[in-house]
């Protein structure tokens, strides 16, 4: 079964500073990997996803993530954060299944991002 760990519960960065949110996964093969963002009381918005190919994935809102198989990691980065990036960020992992059905995804516990003016 797949699992995912986000070691940082809460991170605070200054506006304009760079950001890296950590994510480590456990899965026996190459997984599907996702980053979602959620504002308080709102739904889940997909930032980016990795399923094959280039290990550096570009997403929306200027975010990117790099899949590192050797480290079982999929860290999320942004070169310069904006106050509007303050939210909860979830890393998620999905298993690869056969043709007949897709797999659930499992979420990490989330990292709350605060932005310092």
């Amino acid at each position: 079964a797949q699992s995912v760990t986000q070691p940082d519960i809460h991170i605070t960065v200054s506006e304009g500073a760079s950001l890296e949110l950590r994510c480590n996964y456990s899965y026996g093969a190459t997984p599907y990997l996702f980053w979602y963002v959620q504002s308080p009381g709102q739904g889940l918005q997909l930032l980016l996803k990795y399923f094959s190919g280039d290990t550096l994935v570009q997403g929306i809102k200027g975010f990117e993530a790099e899949f590192k198989r050797s480290q079982s990691s999929f860290n999320l980065r942004k070169p310069s954060v904006h106050w509007s990036d303050a939210a909860e960020y979830f890393c998620a992992v999905g298993a690869r299944k056969g043709y007949s059905s897709a797999s659930k995804i499992i979420f990490g516990s989330g990292t709350r991002l605060s932005i310092r003016p």
Partner: protein, 114 residues
């Protein structure tokens, strides 16, 4: 583009009452998933259906049941509601076949149990 539709968006119930949430997947998506997100928690997988059959089961309480209908919409039935059932319930859908593994989430149904 059509998205996953969940109804109702907000629901208030008393303890021991019953609630039903509905989910309408994206057209041509045959797999539906239900997640529960408690306050300050990550979304927890409850159950999924593929072609109207249960395909996977997570931490769904025995008081809850779900099914997928012939038109692929799904309903989550919750009985004997408890205060701890207050949460945001997400439905997601995906197409079968080799793809990106992406689940498409609805906006969620917020259940408050008083």
């Amino acid at each position: 583009a059509a998205g996953v539709i969940q109804s109702p968006r907000h629901l208030i119930k008393e303890k021991r009452e019953t609630a039903t949430l509905k989910c309408y997947p994206i057209p041509r998506h045959d797999t539906v998933y239900w997640y529960q997100q408690g306050p300050g928690q990550d979304p927890q997988f409850l159950i999924s259906f593929y072609e109207k059959m249960q395909s996977d089961k997570g931490s769904i309480p025995d008081r809850f049941s779900a099914q997928q209908f012939s038109d692929y919409h799904s309903e989550l039935n919750m009985s004997s509601l408890e205060l701890g059932d207050s949460a945001l319930y997400f439905c997601a859908s995906s197409p079968s076949g080799r793809g990106t593994g992406e689940l498409f989430f609805g906006e969620g149904s917020r259940l408050t149990v008083l």
